[in-house]
């Protein structure tokens, strides 16, 4: 066990890079956003916890970069209490990129307070649009934010992106895609990969960027390599440690079993 831990931390400190092959659901999402017309309005929902930033936060950063490069305007609104803070963290980390690309808050993007009610909130947002809010997260009245004047209801939105797990994506599928045909993207956790693929193959989502590996694939597609690509080395270390532990323990287990029989 100590030997395994030593190898684990050694690889953690010096991650070994490996070429990353992209999956079809990541490629599909990338191609869909590449085909979005300039001026599209997109909803991005960062519904993950602070500790989940490693798995979903970097995904959000990469998604924002591609959306802005395509000229899309982004409304960041979530359904969890931590969503506004996660949005704030993403925007803080992208501050230099935003300034370099001359993006303006209120014109190209906006961050809104959380919408209460989870699934009910998502349904209400589809109906009410900007009428659900009086101010943004920084206290600016909605009437003074140009991008919000375009958001009347579901018809104004070209793409909704649910992040952090299957829940938010499920809300958008149930209350935006099925009744109104608004397309949905997914930026889920690795644990929900099966569900993401299921909804992708059913045509309910345009594509999915799932987990850290998905984000690294996505970064290779958009050509903006960031933390996720570096962290895949760490992921490799974790997986190798797990697999190594399983092999060693099972060899030991089988040898003991055969030893008892003889």
């Amino acid at each position: 066990m100590p030997f395994v831990l030593i190898i684990f931390f050694a690889i953690l400190i010096n991650p070994i890079p490996f070429p990353i092959a992209t999956n079809r659901w990541t490629t599909a999402y990338y191609r869909y956003v590449e085909a979005l017309p300039s001026g599209s309005l997109v909803l991005l929902s960062p519904d993950f916890v602070a500790a989940g930033y490693t798995e979903n936060g970097y995904t959000g950063e990469a998604m924002l970069k591609q959306l802005w490069r395509k000229g899309a305007d982004v409304i960041i609104v979530g359904y969890q209490a931590e969503s506004p803070m996660m949005a704030d963290k993403m925007l803080l980390r992208l501050n230099d990129w935003i300034k370099a690309h001359n993006l303006v808050y209120g014109m190209d993007y906006v961050s809104l307070p959380m919408v209460t009610g989870l699934e009910v909130g998502a349904a209400a947002l589809a109906q009410k649009g900007k009428d659900l809010f009086s101010v943004d997260v920084y206290g600016t009245p909605i009437s003074q934010i140009p991008i919000m004047q375009r958001f009347t209801n579901y018809a104004s939105i070209n793409l909704c992106i649910g992040m952090g797990g299957r829940a938010t994506t499920g809300y958008y599928i149930s209350h935006w895609f099925i009744p109104y045909g608004v397309r949905v993207g997914d930026a889920g956790a690795t644990l929900g990969l099966g569900g993401s693929i299921a909804t992708f193959d059913k045509g309910q989502i345009v594509g999915a960027v799932v987990g850290l590996t998905g984000t690294a694939e996505y970064e290779s597609l958009i050509g903006e390599f960031s933390v996720a690509t570096k962290l895949v080395g760490t992921l490799n270390a974790a997986v190798l440690t797990m697999v190594g532990s399983v092999i060693i323990i099972n060899i030991n287990f089988v040898l003991k079993k055969f030893g008892r029989k003889t």
């Binding site: 490996f18 999956n23 930033y53 206290g139 992921l235 323990i249 099972n250």
Partner: protein
């Protein structure tokens, strides 16, 4: 009359009415008045769910304060919870009640995020321990489970698998695209049916649930 109003019946009838409106709107959106009614109900549901934060916060404050006052077991944990709640609320309210407050963002980005990340990071050591307890070849089922987990981990979740053997991604993708996806479909259907049946039982008064 008073006894009737105090009973569960009016709440059940109200719940049944709201459920009926929402269900009918999904299948018959073209019926006049149904979609506006659904939108109106959705707004009220959002308000009610948002209101829940207030009594739950008050409940937490009262419980923590009683625990500190009576010096119950681990009262110091409740004291920290209470103190952080008051400090965070105070910082937010005094900082203009918006995310513009530098101090509020510091509490979240530096204090809260770091603590939560540390707790999750500690669990990384479980990555080494848990598989040694779970993935054992005790029988055929466990052997199949272990082999599937290893192949999926190497084939789909980490690029290192591709570097070790080109077959890992092929088999891993097959597992994810067929058995895993099939189970996801089944889980989704069963969950939906279960939620619907539970809701119908609540409307009929057979489940206590939130109406208890």
């Amino acid at each position: 009359m008073t006894a009737y109003l105090k009973s569960r019946q009016p709440v059940i009838y109200l719940l049944a009415f709201c459920t009926l409106v929402c269900l009918l709107q999904v299948f018959f959106p073209q019926v006049p008045g149904l979609t506006p009614a659904y939108g109106y109900l959705s707004s009220w549901m959002s308000i009610l769910i948002g209101f829940v934060y207030i009594p739950s916060t008050i409940s937490l404050i009262v419980r923590s304060a009683k625990s500190v006052q009576k010096r119950k077991e681990r009262w110091y944990v409740d004291a920290i919870i209470l103190a952080m709640m008051i400090i965070t609320a105070g910082v937010y309210l005094s900082g203009g009640q918006s995310m513009s407050s530098t101090q509020y963002r510091w509490i979240f980005n530096i204090l809260y995020t770091a603590c939560q990340s540390a707790v999750w990071g500690i669990m990384a050591l479980w990555l080494v321990y848990i598989p040694t307890q779970t993935f054992l070849f005790k029988n055929v089922d466990m052997a199949l489970f272990t082999i599937t987990a290893v192949i999926t981990a190497l084939g789909v979740h980490a690029p290192v698998g591709t570097a070790i053997w080109g077959g890992f991604p092929i088999i891993g993708q097959w597992i994810v695209n067929y058995p895993d996806k099939g189970v996801s479909y089944a889980t989704g259907v069963l969950t939906g049916v279960g939620v619907l049946l539970t809701g119908l039982r609540m409307i009929r008064g057979q489940e206590k649930g939130v109406i208890a």
